[in-house]
Amino acid sequence: MMKAVETDLLVIGGGATGAGVAWDAASRGLQVVLADRGDLATGTTGRFHGLLHSGARYAVKDPRSARECAAENRILRAVAADCIEDTGGLFVSTPADDAAYADGFVAACQQAGVAATEVPVTEVLRAEPHLCPGITRAFAVPDATIDAWKTVWACARAAAAHGAAILPYQEVVRLMVEGDAVCGAVLRHARSGEEITVRARYVVNAAGAWAGRVARLAGCDVAVVAGKGVMVAMNHRLVNAVVNRCAMPGDGDILVPVRTVSVIGTTDARVEDPDRVQASADEVRAMLAAGESFIPGFTQHRALRVWAGVRPLFAATSPTSAETRDLSRGHTVIDHAAREGVGRFITIAGGKFTTFRLMAEETVDAVCADLGVRAECRTAAETLPDSEERHYYWIGARQAQAEARPVDDPLVCECELVSRQDLLVAAARRPGLDLDDLRRALRLGMGPCQGGFCMARATGLLHEAGHLDRAAANAALRDFVEERWRGIQALAWGDQLRQMRLDAWILLGVLDLEHLPE
């Protein structure tokens, strides 16, 4: 007999959008189940560029998005401070950029309500010693960086505090339709293969680039186009603020200081299958070359890792009045009842990380209207867990923690300063975690050595603490290392190649990773 769960709302997809919907709906009093086929934030959300937009990037091209970003930026700073680093942002005119763009840019920012102030170039160069000394103008904007994993988990925890059930590693394999409405789904556990049914009064499809596939399970046709974007993480912070080129948005024109690294991106290329995206060596070279235009010597710096994410771009095939679609808005709430006659089913498509809360608000407004629930959205005023004190995180936080740590709690991951205690506490909090989940939770193995030093330690500790039996420990280590190395292949030269060689000597030569017992 298949296990069955009943709920008001099933949310499919645990990215920023789905987690936001779960938080919003749960805080309005709905009973919510949130399911993702993997861990939370392992889709596009876990692979994005890290930027909490001020709106400035869209000011010229897409004023409506700019206005939304500006508003959401302010709200998230208040409710999700713990997930945000207030790096500030800069728009700089490099010698290669059209100087006239800057004037239009300032005017557009003003119109969209984005605070942009011109800063003397000498001041900017003092604060950003790596920046091209030939820049002609610079503008400060309230860009910031935001931690995707922290944010999504904070939303999930807030939802859980309002009674929601959070189900990672549960893939929706079937949608159940009764009459002219969706009434639930069959979920299959990614590891055990065990299936459960969730009967729901309403289903929201927040599967991002996979939303088309999920909609098809209910016979609906949503044309979500996957747009691949490539990003390269550089070994350390080359800039302290988010640096954007002050020009029409293009490829590789933003450098984002994300915690200990700086990430250059990105690109936009249509791909057929969002599950098969890979960055090529050519794309890496193109990104590094793009960096050269605002950070002289960029290509000489150590590139750490490359990855790609897929934008969920919504291309409407048959727009109807029930759709709130507006190309310039970037996101769309699709009510399938009006569109295809499939009730109690909404797809939320497109958008940005920065606007996830707004997207969730609009989605849950529609759900509530449909269910006849009268409840106001509360997420603009309800601080997320750990953000109550409204302190932004800062780059030195882990270093400060490490300073205060007792000597008998040694570092496991030296690059990201994760201690043994950190690891064991995180593992105990969510039993059944794999190494990659711990990586996201702790940033374990995400630094320069990409797991070369820490993963064997971590696996051993988890085994010792009873979280992984011998076979599982060996397999986990192997899988993890393989996945990390995949992200280095395309940039294995110079320092990073030397790192890989050392890692290989340790893991293959000393530990004989390839021949561990099964």
């Binding site: 010693p129 070994n235 030195g396 270093q399 400060a400 300073e403 030296e414 690059c415 050595c449 030397r498």
Partner: protein
């Protein structure tokens, strides 16, 4: 003037070359003896990724780096670990402020100037335990730390009435503060040795190189000092002349640290830096060119020689060993240890004295086991530390050379703090 952008980013960016191989951590003499210092890789390339290029950093542990520079020297990948740490230390100090003690230790000229007129009293006070205990409480200078005695008559005074020989071969002498106020005989012997080899020695007026300011984290005054010094060492009419330093640490400051740690980019300094030679580096070069006089009388002594960190940091080998090897009768035992612990003013500080002594312990033990007549070491603060810790007369190697040339008994003028 702002520090050079490129010099600063180049050293900081060298962290990219770190592959965590941990060679520096195994070589670090401080991390080996205290858990207060987590190690050069940890506070250097690793922690640097958590520091903003502006503003302070939270890592007080970097303050336990002694700055000996062993880490940079052993790094097989070219990470400027010690330099990264020196800057981080300065930022940490920027956050906590600099104590009165550190202000004093950072200004040896001031101590020298204050102490000189009352030298007998000052030196007597240094030996009085109750006064040292009081100084430890009030100032934080450890009661047992090796402090130099000031002399009544400075080096500059002593050479002021000298009549320099005329010679077409001229050099400039960079004597530093220590020679002027604490060990004038080192300067006098340097001048005598150079003159014996046919050089006319210019001794321009000069101030502090700024090294103690730098290691205390007072970067701005340090930059001013070293710029001023570069001007002093290149007075009109001395273009292109070799500049000879008898202090290895001050020499290192001019040669490398001013640019690499302080980020000073200054044409005058660069010129001076290129022309600066450690005394024995210069003498060994003379010997290779067949120009060093070897009219030595035998020196029948057993000497334990220790090449200090700052000299190794110059990357010039061990020229004192090469030159002293020419002296008949002299038996030299080379001490192969990485640090004596003092690292400038590090080991003077109350909270670091025990660490410094533990760092130096293997060296002191080696010396005790070797039972030499004398210890020789090129750096003044190391001499004071070793002399104090071993109770043996500890001299600059040039004192042995001076004696080989027929000068006075080494160690007689130079009993130093260690001798008593």
């Amino acid at each position: 003037m702002t520090p050079g952008r490129l010099a600063l980013t180049a050293v900081g960016d060298s962290l990219d070359r770190c592959i965590k191989c941990t060679v520096c951590e195994s070589a670090c003499p401080v991390a080996a003896v205290t858990s207060l210092f987590p190690g050069p890789k940890t506070v250097g390339p690793q922690a640097e990724r958590f520091r903003q290029s502006q503003g302070s950093s939270p890592d007080r542990s970097v303050d336990y780096c002694s700055g000996c520079g062993v880490c940079t020297r052993v790094c097989p990948h070219g990470v400027r670990i010690a330099e990264i740490n020196a800057r981080a230390r300065a930022r940490w100090r920027g956050r906590t402020g600099v104590s009165l003690r550190d202000h004093l230790l950072a200004r040896p000229v001031l101590t020298g100037r204050l102490g000189r007129p009352v030298a007998p009293v000052f030196n007597w006070a240094l030996g009085q335990r109750p006064l040292r205990v009081a100084a430890e409480r009030l100032l934080g200078v450890h009661r047992a730390a090796p402090l130099p005695r000031v002399v009544g008559r400075t080096f500059r005074y002593r050479v002021s009435r000298r009549r320099p020989p005329r010679s077409p071969d001229r050099v400039v002498y960079f004597h530093g503060c220590s020679v002027d106020y604490f060990e004038p005989w080192v300067g006098q012997m340097t001048v005598a040795i150079l003159e014996h080899n046919g050089f006319a020695v210019d001794i321009p007026r000069q101030g502090c190189c700024g090294l103690p300011l730098q290691s205390t984290g007072l970067f701005e005054p340090a930059r001013r000092s070293v710029r001023r010094l570069a001007r002093s060492l290149s007075p009109a009419g001395t273009d292109g002349l070799p500049i000879i330093a008898s202090s290895t640490s001050c020499g290192l400051m001019v040669k490398r640290e001013a640019e690499e740690i302080l980020g000073v980019e200054d044409a005058r300094l660069r010129d001076v830096s290129r022309r600066t030679y450690d005394l024995f580096e210069f003498l060994a070069g003379l010997h290779r060119a067949g120009r060093l006089r070897t009219d030595f009388t035998p020196v029948p002594l057993t000497v334990a020689y220790y090449a200090p960190c700052q000299q190794r940091g110059q990357g010039i080998g061990e020229p004192a060993m090469d030159v002293l090897g020419l002296v008949p009768g002299l038996r030299i035992l080379e001490l192969d240890r990485s640090c004596c612990g003092i690292a400038g003013t590090y080991g003077l500080k109350r909270e670091k004295y025990a660490i410094a002594m533990a760092v130096g312990r293997p060296l002191f033990d080696d010396i005790a086991a070797a039972r030499p007549d004398l210890v020789a070491c090129d750096s003044e603060t190391c001499r004071w530390q070793i002399g104090r810790a071993t109770g043996l007369p500890t001299v600059h190697p040039l004192e042995l050379l001076y004696r080989a040339y027929g000068g006075a008994e080494p160690g007689s003028a130079a009993a130093g703090p260690g001798g008593q």
